[in-house]
């Protein structure tokens, strides 16, 4: 039994000449009123369905646009902050070293400056070591010279010792001969001659030894000079290198500390960006939600159009003189079909873009 037009269940056109029973007893008017009332109820229901659906779509689009706008503004600020931090990292790494290259403006320049400085220090050490080696060789040669001269002096001293002994003997002989001078004057003269020769040799040797000693003293002075030069250069280089190394280490530590701070700030900024990207991902899902909502609206609009066409058909039937009851029955059938296929539940429940629930079974 039709619930739209219960007093007349027949469908399809009726013969024009045949009067419908409902028309005869006035129930046709009642049926028409009832059908109109029910149609009005369905229209109200459809409007009631469409209204929140469209409001929901409006809310979702509005919220998505607002969230996306806010997220993009925050992202823009975060990206600018990121650029600023990156520049600071560069500046922190482009430290300058007192007394060294001061024109480093990029991390690469800074590290090149450090590298050049360290290489310069190492070159200084190498050159110093070569000087030390050269001086050492000279020192060894001088020591060898001293040793040779000492050996010569020892030989000479041995000769002097022999001369001294023989002079002593001659002296004794001279004394003996002197005692007999009167009788052996000729012998004394021979001895005296030998003593004279020995005295000459002794004098020459003393002179030579004096020269050797002078040479030895000069060699020792030069050796002393070399040793002092080596010691002085070594110490000065060591002190200078230590100072340069200390400056480098301090500069590197300061730079490293600042870079650490900036990296922490960069990480915090990256978290802000990540959070904003999350907002963007969540907000962009409005397309799916609004799409489903609008699909439901479109389906309901199709229903409304079908209803309008059904009423238009009634109008045309009545204008053509079709029996009222049959025309109403046809209308009723169409409307029942529409109502039966209507989807009245809302597929999208969420009215906002807040993240939905999660259930693990």
């Amino acid at each position: 039994m039709s619930r739209w037009f219960s007093s007349s269940a027949s469908a399809g056109p009726a013969p024009a000449a045949e009067a419908h029973p409902a028309a005869q007893d006035g129930s046709l008017r009642k049926a028409l009123l009832r059908t109109a009332g029910r149609e009005a109820t369905m229209l109200e229901s459809q409007v009631a369905f469409l209204n929140p659906e469209l409001l929901q779509a409006d809310n979702l689009v509005g919220e998505a646009a607002h969230t996306l706008g806010a997220a993009l503004r925050t992202l823009d600020r975060s990206v600018q902050h990121q650029h600023h931090l990156a520049s600071e990292v560069q500046v922190a790494m482009a430290f300058t070293i007192e007394g060294g290259p001061a024109d480093a403006t990029t991390p690469a320049d800074a590290f090149n400056a450090v590298s050049t400085s360290i290489m310069g220090t190492l070159d200084g050490f190498v050159m110093s070591m070569m000087d030390i080696s050269k001086s050492s060789m000279q020192l060894v040669a001088e020591v060898e010279d001293i040793r040779t001269r000492s050996e010569q002096m020892e030989t000479m001293l041995g000769e002097l010792s022999e001369i001294a002994g023989r002079t002593h003997l001659l002296s004794l002989n001279a004394n003996i001969e002197a005692a007999h001078a009167r009788r052996y004057g000729a012998g004394f003269a021979v001895v005296a001659g030998e003593v004279s020769k020995l005295a000459d040799r002794s004098t020459n040797l003393s002179s030579t030894i004096q020269e050797q000693i002078t040479g030895t003293r000069q060699a020792l002075e030069r050796t002393d000079s070399h040793v002092q030069a080596i010691a002085s250069k070594d110490l000065n280089i060591a002190i200078g290198a230590k100072g340069e190394s200390l400056k480098l280490v301090q500069a590197l530590e300061a730079s490293n500390q600042r870079v650490k701070e900036l990296v922490v700030e960069l990480e915090a900024n990256a978290r802000v960006i990540e959070e904003q990207v999350g907002h963007v991902v969540r907000s962009l899902q409005f397309e799916d939600l609004v799409h489903q909502t609008l699909q439901a609206c479109l389906q309901e609009l199709d229903n409304l159009m079908a209803q309008a066409l059904a009423w238009r058909a009634l109008e045309q039937r009545l204008a053509a003189g079709d029996p009222e009851a049959a025309s109403l029955a046809a209308l009723e059938e169409t409307l029942e079909g529409i109502e039966a296929t209507r989807v009245q539940f809302r597929a999208v429940k969420s009215n906002s873009l807040a993240a939905g629930d999660v259930d693990l079974f």
């Binding site: 991902v281 969540r282 899902q285 397309e287 489903q292 429940k349 807040a354 259930d359």
Partner: protein, 120 residues
């Protein structure tokens, strides 16, 4: 080798958002536009997880879950339903079909990754 996840949704925007989120966590992602395409794509792939929508043309998500569970290859593969549907009755249908979990759209990337890492 990164775990591979199949995501099934008729909305290209949703697929993009899901893929973006999963790839940011180093997952490999395979996409399908509905249940029918998912059943064509899935076999032979070592899928660590399947994420599917419910309301899709040709084959809905609940039917897809049932069909996948009927395949020995996917009998124990975690399947998450990601949908606008939040009715308890619909959730029950998903559970009975063999779904592992139910996530109501819209999802937050952080929460999705948390659930994915929990069920994989």
């Amino acid at each position: 080798m990164s775990p591979c996840i199949l995501t099934v949704d008729d909305s290209s925007t949703m697929r993009q958002m899901i893929t973006f989120t999963l790839k940011s966590a180093n997952f490999e992602v395979v996409e399908a536009g509905d249940g029918v395409e998912a059943l064509e794509v899935a076999p032979g792939k070592k899928l660590a997880l399947i994420i599917t929508d419910v309301n899709m043309p040709r084959m809905d998500g609940i039917t897809l879950v049932q069909r996948l569970r009927a395949l020995p290859e996917f009998r124990f593969t975690p399947i998450l339903v990601l949908t606008t549907e939040s009715d308890a009755s619909m959730k029950m249908k998903g559970k009975e079909a063999g779904a592992t979990g139910w996530i109501v759209k819209p999802f937050s990337p952080e929460k999705l990754l948390e659930v994915v890492n929990k069920v994989i």
